[in-house]
Every structure is written in structure tokens, then in C-alpha cells.
Symmetry: C2
Subunit: 202 residues, 2 copies
């Protein structure tokens, strides 16, 4: 099973799967090796230690989670077009890897210190400050209602992310099956945009 692709990649793929589903503390090196179909020693041969391997997986994950946000945020575009663009793009990103936000959030909660450093060195670090300035300006201009830019940012992200990280509990409470919940998620982009615009429209 091992020879098909590059062993290094094979390990990373397996590590992603195990770390993301079980977390750093719950992941077992043996399970990663099994998943990759190789000997456990290879993990250390290529990546030294569990922590080193985890760091690679985590960095890529956080890049995807906040990077996607930053990409749209930094684009030059009128605010009233940018907001739906952010929502569409961000929900698309989450749907591609619905388990990533939970993984990232949880590991960050486990060690916030290590994270803060990493965040600022992140190339995709979202330039939120500019975005918030735009919101304030638009408010003064009367393009939108004058709202707290921080609250607006939190609202957008909350509405986009939570339905995915809270999926098991929400699905349980709402008593929906997978197919039904998927349909609800399909509508999300439209709904979130609607909600945000209802709140900020003059």
C-alpha cells in the first residue's frame, strides 16, 4: 500500500485524517502509520516527533481556515458586494472540509499561547482592520447603517461557521437526518447574506 505515492505525502495525508478527527491528544502514532500503511518508524524518520508532525498538519489547517477569510477580505471591492462574496467564499471553504474549523478551534483552545505567535506570522493573516475601517466609513456615508464593525465581523463568521461545528448537536436537537441537514446547509449562503443585509440596511 505504501509505494503508490511519495511516502512523505502518504504520511501527511494519514496524519491529517487522524489528527483532525481525534485531536493531538487523542491521536496515536500507530494509527497514523496504519492509516498510511507503513511502519511506525517512518513517521519519525521523516518528521522526527509527534509534535513536529502535528505542527505541519495544524499549520496547514489554520491556513485554510483563516486564509480563505483573508483572501476575500483583502480584495478591492465595494462593501455591498464584498460581504456576500465573503459569505459565499467562506461557506464554500467550510463545506469542502467541514471538520477543519472544529479541529483548529479546539487545538487553539488547548494552547492559545503557541497560537498567537503563529497567527501573526501567517501570510494569509486577514487584514480585518482595513475591512472594519471600510464598514465605519460606509456607515458614515450612509451606504449601510452605522453598526459596530467588530460585531458585524462576529456575526458573519458566527452564522457561517457554527452550523458546521455544531452540526451533531444541532442535527440531534432538530431531529434531522443527514440529507435534510445537508439541504439546510445548501441554503445557508443565501440565508446568512439575507440576515446580515437585513441588519445593516439603512
Amino acid at each position: 500500500m505504501a509505494q503508490d505515492r511519495n511516502t512523505e505525502e502518504l504520511i501527511i495525508e494519514a496524519a491529517k485524517k487522524i489528527f483532525i478527527t481525534r485531536g493531538l491528544a487523542g491521536a496515536r502514532m500507530q494509527d497514523i502509520a496504519d492509516e498510511a500503511g507503513i511502519n511506525k518508524a517512518m513517521l519519525h524518520y521523516y518528521y522526527r516527533s509527534k509534535d513536529k508532525l502535528f505542527e505541519i498538519v495544524f499549520n496547514e489547517a489554520i491556513g485554510k481556515v483563516i486564509g480563505r477569510l483573508g483572501m476575500v477580505l483583502n480584495q478591492q471591492m465595494p462593501l455591498l458586494e464584498k460581504i456576500p462574496a465573503i459569505i459565499d467564499n467562506y461557506i464554500d471553504g467550510i463545506m469542502e472540509a467541514p471538520y477543519l474549523p472544529m479541529f483548529v478551534l479546539n487545538e487553539i483552545n488547548q494552547q492559545p499561547e503557541m497560537f498567537v505567535q503563529r497567527l501573526k506570522s501567517q501570510q494569509h493573516f486577514p487584514n480585518v482592520l482595513q475591512f472594519m475601517k471600510d464598514i465605519v466609513d460606509a456607515g458614515k456615508q450612509g451606504t449601510i447603517r452605522e453598526v459596530s464593525p467588530v460585531q458585524l465581523f462576529l456575526n458573519i463568521v458566527s452564522l457561517c461557521v457554527f452550523p458546521f461545528i455544531g452540526r451533531p448537536i444541532a442535527q440531534g436537537i432538530l431531529q434531522l437526518d443527514n440529507v435534510q441537514y445537508n439541504m439546510v446547509m445548501e441554503d445557508r449562503k443565501k440565508v446568512v447574506t439575507e440576515v446580515i443585509f437585513a441588519w445593516i440596511k439603512v
Copy 2:
């Protein structure tokens, strides 16, 4: 250090602290014992196994997280009063124990099967179906706009919960210190109510 209170309670308190901060996989029985200031054997003497102890902590946690929601949801009250009541009450609950939702959500993601059973046997199981029926009725009556009750529910919960579970990352991106972020959370009740009403008002 052990004699002050009942040893059993002492253990539960310590177990809560350790399990909630580190999760099931990351928690160490020795750490719980140390936290309680007692011998590790006492944990097994009173609660058999790590899993049994965890179950107690987890059940209480999930009770708080979804129970609080159910309490308000099941109250007899006009919809337009009930929605702000839900929001106020739920955010109050989260602020009392901001780490609980993350803990519950994460552990549920780890073993969704075990959870689904527990959910239905939960005494505080929120009667969301009735609440959703009320929303549909109110829509038809014209009290509110006709919106998907499922989406409304998701919106409320998302806006309330996410800013707390995503706090480290949000605070990092927004570059706010603890005091500033606390102030933002203070305003949350008002903002969430505002957003929801803006969306559902006719």
C-alpha cells in the same frame, strides 16, 4: 487539603476542571487527583473508571448547554417576547461557563453515537418542534416574516455561541485584548436580538 468538603464532590470538581480544559483524551487521572489534593486510587474507589467519571462530567455539561436552551424554549410566552428571552438567557448561561460549549461540542464530535442516545433521554431535551411550529404559525399570521424555522434556530444559536467558542481566534484576528473582548460580549445580547429581529420583522 482533602477533608474540607466531601471527597466525592472534591473529585467531581477537580474532574470538571481537568476534563473541560483538556478533554477526555487529554485528561490524566493523576492530574485530577492532584487537582483534588487526594490519592489517585480514590478516583477509582468512588467512580470506578476514567470513562465513568467522564460520563458524569459530560452529562452535567450537556445538561447545562442544552438544558438552558430547553427551559426557555418550553415556556409559554408570545413569540416576540420569547426570542429575546431565549437570547438573553442563553448568553447569560454561556457567560457563566464560557468553556462548556466548546467542551461539549468537541466531545460530541469525537463520539456522535453515544451522544444521540443520551440526547433523547435528556430530561431537558428542548422541545424545538413546538417552537418551530410557533414560528411557522407566526409567519402565516403575519406576526413575523415567513422564514425557515430551522434556519432561525440555527441563526440564534450561532450568534449566541460562536463568539465564545471562537474567542481565541476571533480575539487574535481582531487584535483585541481581554478587556476589550469582554466589552464586546457585553453588547452581544442586544446585538443578537437586533439582528434576529431585523431579519424576521415584516
